[in-house]
């Protein structure tokens, strides 16, 4: 039979990764609560399922190792082995090794490299201490093949099979006719006699009891064992006799009717385990359908086109001044919006899985560093785009590692500073005005403001004499070139690579900033867009061109009168109810030819803590839009994050507000020596 299992193998790989994660989390849970039966059950099931499924794909190395792990877990489950720190450490490493096995053997189809085999040998050795002392290699109880008349030969024989089914057969869900049909697949049934003589008289006959018997002649190349196996499921209460009839032959093999006294079943010791549902990690599948992420992207892209098309239809309808048509298109728009929300929601996953992965990291690193650090996770259910979740892992890891390495002090130093010996790290996620915020907070020593400033000036990142707020100073550590190899040492309370962290977050259209209090700790705040695919945009026009500003960054719109225009152009900022609002003239910024329109407007945008006014000609209203990434050609274009197609078919560029604001910040920082602009941006 040629059954292609490639796709199922992919499912197995994904599933194994999930199970290993469950295993790891449950082991960590067990570390804090050694008596948690739910956790033990979950760990056992993870190993058990991986072993069982790996066997289906013939992944012998996975099965072999996992079997030993499962064996120890089984003993843990029945109480013959107690939970202790060493065992948990060993089992955590076993999980790592299983992951490697899956990645190497299942994903790549390779064999383990020697180093990994060495690790495995060490783990097997460590595990053996927890196995039963008289542990014998697993014997696979196969039906013992006593007689096999057809063994070795594939010659066709004529077999005579006598069957007397037991009374319970029907009630057990077995159908004698099915067994006959199955025999037909093994050869040719030349004769069948149905025996009904034993059916009792009507008054004592129960229609649901079976009294049937069959005498069958079967011509088949199958051996005795194969034929005998056919009746495995009914052997308990049936008489089966299988004989080879050699026509004109002296060699007749006869097998006595077998009342295969199934080993007496003994007291059912293994009690049925019913775990409270609450202690189970949420079942991931069942009611779920696994969909290839590409298909989802395709769907979202299509929905995006639909949004655009529907917007186009609405625009047309409006210009027709046909009320019923307008009403119809607005209904369609409403539905399209719902579809869009639904489609986008398909890509949203909770951040919790990513967060939980860090429990292990924190545990391992804190042990490595000899610090006692506790990780608190909150907001695990906060959902965000799958792509973002996947890509935020590395930056988060880096930030956590830094916080543990440099932020949190040793227990002694902490106590000396009057703090609890145990360090505290927290990961938190929440939604905030169309963005997701992830906070990594520690209660360590905080950053050293003076040394950062000193270093930054030394590196030419800050003009000497510039007046910077504390926060601006702290955020200097994200500047490229701030930390260099020389600065690897615990210079700032943070190691190298913060610029890389920032770059990765910026690539996700996100921002990062940092707040620190001496002696009390540091908070790093990452702000990310909810989705990468679609934004609610605010359309603005300059000449005949249209630009899109992400709506959630628009604070207000102001008309710029002729008087203000002149003064604001001279000063580069606007007095917004007493606030200094830096202005960017988009006409100038994007080098539009021609003079400004008669009327101009200012769109006040805010991102994180920066605020600025964008000077445009026209305000064209809200528009939901799909982001089409810009080609490489335009990759270097500052201030543009993508493009979109309007209902009219025209292309509009999407403004990259964070980048624009950043430009202003830098511009102002360069001129910071100038006495009249003490703060870079309005708060």
């Amino acid at each position: 039979m040629s059954i292609n299992l490639d796709q199922a193998l992919q499912t197995f790989i994904v599933e194994a990764h999930e199970l290993l994660q469950v295993m790891e989390q449950s082991l960590l849970q067990l570390e804090t609560e050694p008596a948690d039966q739910g956790a033990i059950g979950a760990i056992f099931r993870a190993a058990h399922t991986i072993k069982g499924s790996a066997g289906l794909f013939g992944l012998t190395p996975v099965v072999g190792f996992t079997h030993i792990v499962e064996d120890v877990l089984d003993r843990l489950r029945d109480g013959s082995v107690a939970v202790d720190a060493t065992l948990i450490a060993v089992l955590l490493k076993c999980g790592d090794h299983m992951l490697e096995l899956i990645n190497v053997v299942a994903s790549r189809g390779e064999t383990l490299p020697p180093a990994a085999l060495e690790r495995e040998a060490a783990l097997r050795e460590a595990l053996s201490r927890y196995q039963a002392p008289t542990h014998l290699p697993e014997t696979v109880p196969q039906s013992i093949q006593t007689v096999d008349a057809g063994a070795g030969t594939s010659a066709e024989l004529l077999w005579h099979i006598s069957l007397r089914f037991g009374v319970e057969v029907f009630r057990n869900g077995m159908d004698p006719l099915s067994f006959l049909r199955y025999l037909e697949t093994l050869g040719q049934i030349t004769q069948v006699t149905t025996l009904t003589e034993t059916i009792p008289a009507l008054d004592s006959w129960d229609p649901e009891s079976c009294y049937l018997g069959f005498e069958i002649d079967l011509r088949s190349t199958a051996g005795h064992a194969t034929l005998n196996e056919v009746f495995d499921f009914v052997r308990d209460d049936c008489e089966v006799s299988i004989e080879a009839i050699h026509e004109a032959s002296d060699r007749a093999v006869s097998v006595a009717s077998e009342w295969d006294a199934q080993a007496e079943q003994g007291p059912l010791t293994a009690s049925v385990q019913r775990l409270p549902a609450a202690s189970e990690p949420k079942t991931r599948d069942g009611n779920y359908v696994r969909v290839n992420a590409d298909k989802l992207d395709e769907l979202i892209n299509l929905v995006g086109e639909l949004v655009i098309a529907s917007a186009g239809a609405s625009l047309l309808a409006r210009s027709c001044h046909n009320d019923p048509l307008q009403e119809a298109t607005s209904t369609v728009s409403g539905l399209v919006e719902e579809i869009l929300d639904g489609a986008l929601h398909l890509r949203m996953v909770p951040i919790g899985d990513t967060f939980n992965r860090f429990r292990r990291v924190v545990r391992d690193i804190s042990q490595e560093l000899g610090k006692d650090i506790e990780l608190t996770i909150s907001g695990a259910e906060t959902e965000m785009d799958k792509t973002v979740v996947e890509k935020i892992g590395d930056p988060l890891m880096h930030l956590l590692r830094n916080a543990m390495d440099h932020g949190i002090e040793s227990a002694d130093a902490r106590r000396a500073a009057g703090k609890a010996g145990k360090g505290h790290l927290s990961l938190n996620a929440y939604h905030d005005s169309g963005s997701i915020v992830i906070e990594i907070a520690d209660d360590g020593n905080g950053l050293n403001r003076e040394r950062i400033l000193e270093k930054a000036q030394e590196r030419g990142l800050v003009a000497s004499g510039a007046v910077l707020s504390d926060q601006e100073i702290y955020n200097l550590i994200f500047e490229p070139g701030f930390s260099t190899a020389e600065a690897v040492t615990n210079l700032s309370g943070r190691g190298v690579g913060m610029d890389v962290v920032k770059r990765n977050i910026t690539l996700l259209r996100g921002t990062v900033d940092l707040d620190s209090r001496p002696g009390q700790g540091t908070v790093v705040r990452i702000r990310l867009p909810l989705t990468l695919a679609i934004i609610n945009g605010f359309l603005v026009g300059i000449d005949t061109s249209t630009y899109v500003i992400p709506l959630d960054m628009v604070q207000e719109c102001i008309e710029l009168d002729v008087h203000q225009r002149q003064s604001s152009r001279d000063q580069g900022y606007l007095d917004l109810r007493g606030e200094v609002l830096p202005l960017v003239d988009l006409r100038e910024h994007f080098s539009h030819e021609g003079s400004a329109g008669r009327r101009q407007n200012v769109v006040v945008v805010r991102y994180a803590e920066h605020k600025a006014g964008l000077v445009v000609d026209d305000l064209l209203g809200e528009f939901q839009t799909v982001i089409k990434p810009l080609g490489k050609l335009f990759g270097a274009l500052r201030g543009i994050s993508g493009s979109t197609i309007l209902g009219s078919g025209a292309v509009a560029l999407i403004l990259d507000i964070p980048a624009l604001l950043n430009q202003i910040v830098q511009l102002e920082a360069r001129t910071a020596q100038a006495p009249y602009s003490p703060t870079v941006v309005a708060r």
């Binding site: 299992l5 499912t11 029907f170 869900g173 308990d236 069942g286």
Partner: protein, 122 residues
């Protein structure tokens, strides 16, 4: 009309392998991830054969079989238990509960198909 086989296992790859094997032979396959989920899938459609794993979250296989046997419309439906070689006691327990057929994990798709076709035709 193809016969419906309900495959109950918490491992989606096992369900997929069984599904591929059975569909190739002409059976229709319904999947469930644990006993509780499976009980829900028994209503509203006719299931002709049940294949169930033993160790599952929420409701394990043995409890599930016992529940099935209580249902008037399923008390005579054949059930195949998926056991592992190390679970002889579970197999006996399953048989006592009413799952008289079994397939030992790990199995080849062909083995699963053989077990199923002993019990029902596609």
């Amino acid at each position: 009309m193809a016969k419906n086989v309900l495959v109950v296992d918490d491992s989606s790859s096992v369900r997929q392998v069984v599904g591929i094997a059975l569909k190739s032979a002409g059976y229709d396959v319904i999947e469930a991830c644990d006993g509780r989920d499976a009980l829900g899938k028994l209503t509203g459609q006719k299931v002709h054969l049940i294949i169930s794993d033993v160790n599952m979250p929420n409701m394990d296989g043995i409890t599930f079989v016992k529940e099935v046997k209580k249902l008037a419309s399923y008390k005579f439906t054949p059930i195949i238990m998926l056991t592992t070689e190390s679970q002889e006691s579970k197999k006996a327990e399953g048989q006592a509960a009413g799952a008289k057929a079994w397939v030992v994990k790990p199995f080849q798709p062909a083995q699963m198909l053989a077990a199923v076709s002993k019990l029902i035709l596609p």
